[in-house]
């Protein structure tokens, strides 16, 4: 199931990134800034890496929450069918991808602070809005499934923990990008801010 999600999400990220890149390339001609032109591919792959690492972290966290829910809320007839395999896979995703996400974001914001990366570029907004879109769809589907399961009378604590876990992660990612948009629109007019921001 995790592989299915990954197989669905990664092409989406790639397509979204390419769209953002194309939009940016068209936009670039008008701005006519040679500094940005040279660094565009670098910025593109930084954003892409951050996005992929974020998605893998989020899916890993959801997988771990689901595994913990299975573990904490055992149900009859589980014995022998439940495995720790998905839980371990989620852990490995979290352990590897989340530090990469933190690091790449640190690099991006370091470059924004030093003026190397334009915080208000179309490319950056493209990635941000693409992620916001994915988040919206995820939350929508999650709520839909909750309603459907509730109507089926299958709303167990285990399921609730999984569903709420997905919502919590999605909410956290949403808050992050919301603040990101706000910060970059606040930052850009004034002088470059000091060395701030870890994440």
């Amino acid at each position: 199931m995790v592989f299915t999600i990954l197989a669905a999400v990664i092409p989406l990220v790639l397509i979204g990134g390419i769209i953002a890149g194309v939009v940016y390339a068209f936009n670039r001609r008008r701005t006519d800034s040679s500094a940005i032109r040279v660094t565009a591919p670098r910025d593109f792959f930084l954003y892409l890496l951050a996005t992929v690492a974020l998605y893998i972290s989020a899916i890993g966290a959801m997988t771990v929450i689901a595994g913990l829910a299975d573990f904490w809320f055992p149900e009859a007839l589980d014995r022998g069918e439940l495995t720790a395999g998905p839980l371990r896979f989620g852990l490995s995703m979290l352990i590897v991808a989340f530090p990469i996400f933190l690091y790449v974001n640190r690099v991006i914001h370091g470059k924004i602070a030093s003026g190397e990366v334009e915080p208000e570029s179309t490319m950056r907004a493209g990635f941000t809005y693409f992620t916001l879109f994915v988040i919206a769809v995820t939350a929508l589907v999650d709520l839909m499934v909750i309603v459907k399961v509730y109507l089926n009378g299958e709303l167990t604590p285990r399921f609730l923990m999984k569903a709420v876990g997905v919502l919590a992660i999605v909410g956290l990612v949403y808050r992050y990008y919301q603040n990101d948009l706000k910060a970059s629109s606040d930052e850009s007019p004034g002088p470059p801010p000091g060395p701030e921001v870890i994440v």
């Binding site: 972290s57 771990v64 022998g80 839980l87 852990l91 956290l172 808050r175 919301q178 603040n179 921001v197």
Partner: protein, 195 residues
């Protein structure tokens, strides 16, 4: 884009800190739930042991089919594939961990007792579920003995149940004689190879 938010998580930094804390908590809780790699290894060894005990049962059944009775000891047991040989990697007569022969005693022509020492209790098992032919014997950590009996079907044809979960667990020998296990229905057509 101006978005107003009063309350916690007001800055990107705050979200980052919360997310990092959440990830740390999830990883710690997940590692506790999934068990340590050493524990996982013990479960895998016990799963292999279970698998071998089930294969041993299949080999003993095959031996009994050909010779009319169970072997006196495990050295007399031959592989149940024609011309096959027990290899070092796979020898159902031997414990996968120690490499020693399982403790085996013939009770009658179609009844035997086998003992093995397990590292874990199958009640704690959350490893990849495994069901071998004949079902997973439940085991406690430590020495477990099983009185097993060849069913009429097993003596007649190859015994390979379609759904191993339907097979009742093998009763454990706990000092007193255990009741004979029920004969199990549902066999696949003869000739199905045991894994």
């Amino acid at each position: 884009m101006k978005l107003k938010w009063k309350g916690p998580l007001e800055s990107r930094r705050a979200v980052g800190i919360v997310a990092t804390a959440a990830v740390v908590i999830l990883v710690v809780a997940g590692l506790f739930a999934a068990g340590s790699p050493a524990t996982a290894r013990k479960f895998r060894i016990d799963r292999d042991r279970t698998e071998r005990l089930n294969n041993l049962h299949a080999s003993l059944a095959a031996h009994a089919r050909e010779n009319g009775s169970l072997p006196e000891n495990l050295n007399d047991l031959q592989p149940n594939t024609p011309g096959g040989e027990f290899t070092e990697e796979f020898d159902p007569r031997r414990d996968p961990q120690t490499g020693e022969l399982f403790q085996y005693r013939r009770i009658s022509d179609r009844q035997y007792r086998v003992c093995a020492t397990f590292l874990t209790s199958s009640l704690d098992r959350r490893d990849e579920g495994y069901y071998g032919p004949g079902g997973s014997p439940s085991h406690r950590a430590g020495r477990n003995c099983y009185d097993r009996r060849l069913s009429t079907e097993e003596l007649r044809s190859d015994f390979f149940p379609k759904d191993p979960r339907l097979i009742p667990p093998i009763p454990e020998m706990m000092g007193s004689p255990s009741p004979a296990p029920r004969d199990t229905p549902a066999t696949t057509p003869a000739g199905t190879p045991s894994p």
